[in-house]
Every structure is written in structure tokens, then in C-alpha cells.
Amino acid sequence: MLSFATRGSGPAATAKPAGVVHPLTFVGDDAALLDGLRSGHPGAPAAFYDRYADYVHAMLMRILGCDPEIGDLLQEVFLQALKSVGSVRDANRLKPWVGSVAVHVARGAIRKRSRRRWLQFRQPESLPVREAPVADEETREVLQLTFEVLERMPADERIAFSLRFVEQMELAEVADICGVSLATAKRRIAKAERRFVALAETRPPLRGWLDQSSRWRDR
């Protein structure tokens, strides 16, 4: 008679009756996960991914929109994170640290595309922004136009803008995740605001959103 046992970690692995195959799950908080990643626990990369993939996915989409390469970039974030996870000293900082890796990867992708466009003598607006699979037509249009504008902004300003206004992070969080001082983050966001509003002027639906407040007209 054959009996089956599955190697796993944590209570889930031992609680199941013999004969049941189940995934190698890593059970533990971020401190345990950090230890597991450092020590090469076989289930740790999967647990790391499962714990933060949605967060990273959201972060990448906030910065890049509905990008066709988002899956590749998602992998890239986790591969880069695995390589340098030894530098994380405080497990409580794991999440923001993963976020900063995502920002780094997104910045690299934006710059790479800028270089590619430059080499091809193409204007940013000549590249179509991928339409988002969103039911509401107005929301879809807002997304389309917003990312058309963001495509024309420098990478650092675009990222600061996305984190502050789309992800709605506090200034200190933006500074932290971008790895800059609070003063730099403030300056960057202020420049990004001005640039975004100026570019949005040529896109009536976006201008309509901004016209709801007199703040920008008065500046």
C-alpha cells in the first residue's frame, strides 16, 4: 500500500491527514518571513509573493496604469527584492521596503521607455495608452487621459504625483518610499502638480475635473 506525505512547514502541514497533498505554505508573521527569506526556507518566496503581490500590483498600476508589461514588472520586483532582502533590518519595514522596490522597478520601466521613444524620435503622446477594462465610460476616459498626461512627465515627478494623488499617500510616506527627504518630496510633488495641471489644460475632460476647484486657476 502506498501512503503519501507532503513536506511543508507550519501547523498546516502537519494538521492534514496523511494522504493529502497540499501546497508548501509558510506560516508566520513578517519577522518569520524575513528570517525564512534570509535562510532560504523553500516556502518563503511563495509566501512572500502571496503576502505582497496584490500590494505591489496595486502600486505598479498606480504608477504605470494598465500596462501590458505589469506581470513582468511584478516578477522583477520580487526577484530584485529577494536579491536584496538581506538589507532589511526591521521586519516592520518589510512592506514599505517592498513598496520602494516596486517604485524603483517602475521608475526603471518609465526611463527605459523614455529612452526607447527618444531613440525612435517619438513623442510621448504618439504611443497609445492602453485602455483600461473599466465598465464606466467616464472613468475609462479619465484613466486614459490621466495616463496620457503622466506619460509626458519626468519619471520622478510622475511617481511622486501618482503616490500622492492616486495612492493618496501622506507626504512623509511618499518621501519614505521614494527614498528622498521630506523637503525633496514636497518640492517634487509641487512641481508635479503644476506640470500635471498645465498639461491637463489641453484635455477638456480633465480640465473639467480640475475646474471644480479654483485653487489652480488662482496660482
Binding site: M1, L2, S3, F4, T6, R7, A12, K16, A18, G19, V20, V21, H22, P23, L24, T25, G40, P42, G43, P45, A46, Y49, D50, R51, Y52, A53, D54, Y55, H57, M61, R62, I70, G71, D72, L74, Q75, F78, L79, A132, P133, V134, D136, T139, R140, V142, L143, T146, R164, V166, E167, Q168, E193, F196, V197, L206, W209, D211, S213, R215, W216
Partner: protein, 450 residues
Amino acid sequence: MSSLERLGEEVARGLDEAREQSDAVGRARGEFLERVSVSRSGPSRARVGLGLAAAAGLAAAAAVLLLVILPGSDALTATVGDDNRIVEPGEWITAPAASSLPVRFSDGSLIELEPRSGARVVDVDERGARILLEKGTVRAEVVHREDTSWTLDVGPYEVVVTGTRFHAAWDPDEQRFSLDLHEGGVRVRGPMVTEGQNLSAGSGFRAWVGEQRVELAFLQSDRFALLSEVATAEPEVAGAPVEEPNADREVPAAVESHPADPADEAPEARRADAGPRTEPVATPLPEPEISWKELARQGKYGDAIDAAESQGFDKVLIGATPRDLKTLGDAARLSHDFARAEQCYLELRQRYPGTAHATKAAFALGRMAFDQQHLYSKSAKWLDLYLKEGGGGGLTREALGRLVEARHRAGDSRGALDAARRYVSSYPDGPHAAYAEKLIDAAESRGDPP
């Protein structure tokens, strides 16, 4: 809130909707784990995997030195086929579709490639050989000596052999490895067994690299079940024996619990002797023709649950990713199978505590208790938990609004008032603002303490 923040909120809402429809996280997961596995499988295998041509060239050069220039060397020689043609180290050897191909070594060891399998004898010396199985199944009989040193590289796994008889299989497309050990002992090293796993006679090892799953099998009788025959999954090869499933077979525990599942018949139904095999063997958890996932994606939630039930609901849960658990839970909820929905969501929370998945499951449980079960105390408990865990996913406002309503309907006036004040403070223009203000006004008119 500034106009830019309002615009940003609208953009975030649209992106969240798009993200809910995206399968990028699931797709990238497998590829990421595969790349991790490959990078962890060590420099020797990486070298073989990434530079086979170079390895073959180097090995061929080494072979020339060993076999030709230094004829006095005691290095083993390898021959292939019935005509005993000498194998050049590094040479690609592939078995035909209809028959196996033996590779014989001068010490009496035999490596037999089963139909359609492909391998290379990467290196040979006086103590043994290093063989790379690139795809398919090999049957090995290695003669034991005191200083024997044989290594079989199978995908990202390394099997260190002393003297033994075994079957090993590798499916590069499915990233599936299996090894069934008939005699002797081997040590398997690779993803999920980075420290090495010793196997003794009568045991088997299976690994699904992409899924990060490993299975060990122990043989407790003199009969042995082949666990994987990827390379021979071709129907009816002329002249090859095909066994019928054994009617009085012994059944693994996993199978006993789900006798209706045809997938479970595979391991024990495909009994094998040491000889080559030809009939196909099902993978461990094959999905029905239209999977529950596809049905759920099509909005056929009841059918999706039926498909999962026919597959063995508990087994589906066991193999499910976090996203699968959420999707299956949503399908059950939307088809009004609240017990199954709760099972999925609770499994998600138990298996992935502290994650965004667990938090979303709390919201789903709260919403289900509110909308479908009308259990408002229970709903409030889950919604409160969702908010305490940080919310997220664009549902915080919705959760807080529902919490106001759930507590109010459950008769928790004080709790409802607290939630209402939080809501109005955070979302003065939100859809629950009027409801919350009404509660606050009523409390103030009663003279309730703030």
C-alpha cells in the same frame, strides 16, 4: 479634498476595478517561483541549463582526453542502442517514439530512456557518470561499488546515486519531477529540498516546481506504482505491454477519501514492473474539461461550484492559490452557497494571515453576512475586523458605511453612533453620509453623550 485628490480617487477606483479583472498576479506567480527555483538550483545545474552547447563542447573535449588521448584511463565507457555505439560525452540521446533506448556502461550499469525521452551523458569518469535528463523518463540500474559516484540531473533537481534501481521523470513544460526508487538509496537535492532528501528503497518523490509542492510516497508492499510517466503519455505503442488497472489494488489514503474523482485513480491504477510503460497517467489534480475557474470567469457561479464539488471541493481548496480561494468563495457566495463561501474565505484567512488576501476575505464575509444572510452582528464583526486590519482595496469607505448600518440594524446603537461619526468625519460626501448624519442627529436630539 482638493480637485486633484478627487481626480486621483477616481483614477484609483478605475485602476482597482481593472486590477480586479487582471490575472497578472496569478500568472506572474508561477513564473516568479520558477525563476527562483532555477536560480536556487545551484551553479552546476545553471551551467548545464544555460549553456548546454558549451557544456557539451567541454564535455566532448574532456571525453576526447579521457577516451582517446588517454586510453589507459579507467574511465567508464558508455554505449547506446543494440549496436553498442560509443556515446560521446555531451551527446544528445533521444529515444524513439515507440521504443526505449538503453545506454550501457562498462561497469554493468544501465540507463534506459523510455520512449520520447531525451538525455545527455554529460561526463564520465572511472567512478561513474553525470547524466542530464532533459525530458521524459529514465529507468536506471546502477551497479554499486565502494567509490561509486553517479549523478542524475533532472530539471532543477540533482539525484546523487550510489547503487540503485529507479525510475526518474522530468516534464519541462509542467515543471514536474518524479523519482520512484526500487532498490538502494539516493539523495535528491533541488527546489524545496535544498538541503537534500534521502530516499530509500520503496519510496517515491514527486515535485511540482512551479507550485512549490513536494510529495513523498512510501511503498509498503512488493508492488510499485509508477507515479509519473510524462514521456510515455502516448497511447498504444505497438508491441508494448499495457496493463489493466488492478481490480484489487490497494488505495492510497488520499484516494480513499475521494473515490469519485477519476484523477485519484491514476497512481495506483497504473501499476508497473521495472519494464517500460506506455499508457498515459493522469496528473495529480487535473481539472475537468471546463474548469470551475473558467465557469466562474464566465459568471456561471453555480456551475463553477458544481465543477469544484465534482473535482472534490476540499482538494480544490488544498491546491488553491489565494486568488483562487477568493474567486471560489465569491462564486459560492453569488450562487448562495454560503457554507462553501464561508469555508473558502475562512481558509483564505487561516492560510494567509496578515495578508491583503485575508483582509479582503474579512470584507467578503462581512458583506455576505449583511447582504445575503442578514446576520448584522456577524457582519459588523467582520467589517470591523476588516477596518482594523487596515482595509484597503478601495473598500474602506464601503466597509465603514456598512458597519454603521450593520451595527444599527443589530441594535448596537452606541457602536453604530461611533461608526457614524467616523464615517462623517472621513467621508462627508459619501453614500452613507446621510444615513450616518441621521443617526448622529437622533443621538444628539436624545441628548446622548458625544
